[in-house]
Symmetry: C2
Subunit: 244 residues, 2 copies
Amino acid sequence: MSGRLTVVGLGPGAARQMTPEAAEAVAAADILFGYAPYLARLPERPGQERRASDNREEIARASAALEAAVAGAKVAMVSGGDPGVFAMAAAVCEAIEHGPAEWRALDVEIVPGVTAMLAVAARCGAPLGHDFCAISLSDNLKPWPLVEKRLALAAEAGFVIALYNPISKARPWQLGRAFELLREKLPGSVPVVFGRAAARALGIEVILIARPLAPDVTAVERPAEAEAWLDGILAHGAGAERGA
Amino acid sequence: MSGRLTVVGLGPGAARQMTPEAAEAVAAADILFGYAPYLARLPERPGQERRASDNREEIARASAALEAAVAGAKVAMVSGGDPGVFAMAAAVCEAIEHGPAEWRALDVEIVPGVTAMLAVAARCGAPLGHDFCAISLSDNLKPWPLVEKRLALAAEAGFVIALYNPISKARPWQLGRAFELLREKLPGSVPVVFGRAAARALGIEVILIARPLAPDVTAVERPAEAEAWLDGILAHGAGAERGA
């Protein structure tokens, strides 16, 4: 079979934060699949086809990419950050698991990238220098009570917490509820870092609930476009110091 | 002040997995500091000085790098993977916090990289596609009972667990104790992935305690040089299926 599928992590946004391995995989593809804002980061190349899709259609997008690869194309499926962290690699693996046998015979490769929490952490010292966890606040793939259980146990463990998929139009209340829960468990001095995605359309991509950082090396970001919903959430007290 | 310090993540090993941003920071440096096996990955450049050190001397190495930067040099401190994940960024921040005021006036930048767990996960499907945590088994910077508490809470939360700094000559029994504890908490069907570092000298760099993966996309690695100590640990039953 001549087709293949490469699931590629584009990194946190800037071209200089994308690995050469990822850039080569993108350049070598006949067809690029991905969420439109990620595809928009990449230079157009004559003869290369693009199939942009909505961010919520992960399994459908994975299936379409696998079908194109089975038909003989060199397919790259792009993700922001790392494709293995709450991104397309899991959807591709799931589609393969439940799909036709010919999908399992395909040559599938996953190219890692710098995930959002690493890029955000690098801009504010070293909040991930000690034990940490990453929790997706999306309850599309798991029940919400499991998210609450994990937040509570993470706080009890003293993990620095990276929240992925913190908020969306379809999930407007989950972040407020998460802050409410964490406020009961953590001291008010715990800093909260709001990490904005490089692609503006994505808004807030990751939030770090960190241990206190060294004052002189801390930068706390609070992006302007987040003011409205943050004000709504934080007006009730997030138990968190948002810094300068 | 003309000097500056850049803390650079070299990624998991291969040059094509290092970001252009990291490669540029390394190329621009007058002096490279780092653990010898990381420095050995980088091409020699005339006029660029190298100061290799032992992996255990993190604060001393950070202080030496800060002193060189204060003296006017462009200094790059290199780490494998991402410098913020159990690596040099935390040591640099800590040194700055407790050091002289002039260190706080320095221009310090952290360049993120692909950390080991992302690279290992990419080779075996998508074990980090759902909530996960990263725990260092080193008890140099925290008491061992805290490690045990975190392992127990992570298992209770159902996190996929990435174990960093799993074993060393100075810490020979901790990994066995961690497996013993996790064996009590997790079903025997949970796969364990042993991720080998690109730099052979480093041995096993990260271990993923994963949820069951799709059988057709799973690759479980067990590096030959780890046989001796793994046999010792696993002979007593790790409660873990190690796969093919």
